[in-house]
Amino acid sequence: MTVERPTGTPVTTAGDQTRIHNIGYRSYDGPRLGRAYARRSLYSQSLRGAFGLGRSTRSKVLPMLLFAVMCLVAAILVAVTVTTKAKDLPVEYTRYAIIMQGLISLYVASQAPQSVSRDLRFKMVPLYFSRPIETADYVRAKYAALASALFILTAAPLLVLYVGALLAKLDFADQTKGFAEGLVSVALLSLLFAGIGLVIAAVTPRRGFGIAAVIAVLVISYGAVSTLEAIADAQNNTAAIPWIGLFSPVTLIDGVQTAFLGATSSAPGAVGPDTGQGAVYVLVVLGLIAAAYGLLLRRYKKVGL
């Protein structure tokens, strides 16, 4: 609230005619860093926040612990390979993320809500949009940050495996190919999981509820799909297995990499989609990622007001 100062003599000089009121604040005349800078800052802050950097010690515990376990298991696998002088890693690069999906799901579930739910709960979103950034900038920065964080989480253990494999003098060309395929697969996985996590988390301002909802979607869909796949396998109805796999994020990624990235399927009986079905898988994955982005844009068009 501005308090009007009583003016003894009204200012009547010609130049100040238009000025009603001046309490002597200086206006900012430094450089304006603009929209791209704000978007970059939001991205880097969200990415750091996803690992608890720049936040309290308590919020560092879980992401760091999950990250450590992801890498530790890879290191153990390398140690086993070296000591047993095996010709190959015990786990394919593409398989690693599928085995560790529980931890990855937990990571998404815990970090997606912390990235967006608190902004909603404390009504921070309109404040963001009072800066030069637009809805799309906010969504892109948050999506990119969570996807990058997931990529770091899933690619780091692959790097451990790769370096370990090279140190163990496994075949260079073979390992490099596997590593590259693994990277493509976890990049897709990161985009897909981050999209699903953010869409669900952006709906609720309650952090705890967001966590439960994300984990429910990821775990329940996988539980349901793998139960159905196991039954289809037991009934020798193997043709149905690839189609069932379309209904959960993990099996989607598994199907894509089985069809195109030289992985062996983790579905029961190792029945993976053929190339035609693989194309459907890729389309569904890309469609889901695009849908997640579109839904986030729509959601923030509304809450940004």
Partner: protein, 239 residues
């Protein structure tokens, strides 16, 4: 030891607005799966046991338990509105007990009832499988609710810890390390179910006596300690 007003508020917090829809989605999925499985394979006791044991009891009951157990008290502590509740002339253990009863009721309705329906759809209660898993879900509802309600009073990250217990400890370690199964609510409730079911389709790694003792001990201790925690609750600022 039971306060209707607290109960009503807790029900509203758990089932108000869209939350009931999300809680309802899980049981609905179970029933849809059961219908699909029945249509694909016909009535088969082994399949029924796999679906109910692998999906209903291992995945659905813990997740509904986490949502109901932590949701009964967690959000209130989180946004600080619990002080209005605590400033009323009610004993803190009464508040906990009321919230526990509500959480148990919600977990039972959203997990045990659909388990029974799914079991009936799958094989029409052959070999008492539907009833056995329903009993397991009922028993597990009580223990999960008490445990997760305690977590809700202890930590702001109760949901995460609850899920870590349910998914990492019971599902992951339980399948790798046999010893972990002894300390698993799922196995304790399966021990009770084993007693109900005819035949050997429902098995548990824990004996019935041990399971019962542990179930009662966990429930009572968790509830008592949650009451104690609530007596000395300090509201921490937002991190």
């Amino acid at each position: 030891m039971y306060d209707p007003t607290v109960a009503r508020l807790t029900y509203r917090a758990l089932l108000g607005r869209r939350r009931a829809l999300i809680l309802g989605a899980l049981p609905l999925l179970l029933i849809v799966i059961s219908v699909v499985v029945r249509a694909l394979t016909g009535a088969d006791d082994q399949t029924a046991s796999n679906v109910l044991g692998g999906f209903a009891l291992a995945t659905m009951v813990p997740i509904v338990g986490v949502i109901a157990g932590t949701g009964a008290i967690g959000p209130e502590i989180d946004d600080g509105s619990v002080v209005y509740l605590l400033s009323k002339p009610l004993k803190r253990p009464t508040i906990i007990l009321t919230k526990l009863i509500v959480a148990i009721a919600v977990t039972m309705v959203f997990s045990a009832v659909p388990t029974l329906v799914a079991g009936l759809i799958l094989n029409g209660n052959g070999q008492q499988i539907a009833v056995a898993y329903t009993v397991a879900a009922l028993v597990a509802s009580i223990a999960y609710s008490a445990l997760f309600l305690l977590l809700g009073t202890v930590s702001r990250h109760a949901v995460v810890f609850g899920l870590v217990y349910a998914l990492v400890w019971e599902a992951l370690f339980g399948s790798l390390v046999p010893g972990a199964r002894t300390l698993s609510i799922q196995q304790w409730s399966l021990a009770v179910a084993h007693r109900v079911a005819e035949g050997d389709l429902v098995t548990s790694d824990v004996g019935l006596t041990t399971a019962t003792v542990l179930l009662v001990a966990v429930t009572v201790l968790a509830t008592w300690y949650a009451g104690q925690k609530l007596r000395s609750l300090t509201l921490a600022g937002e991190e």
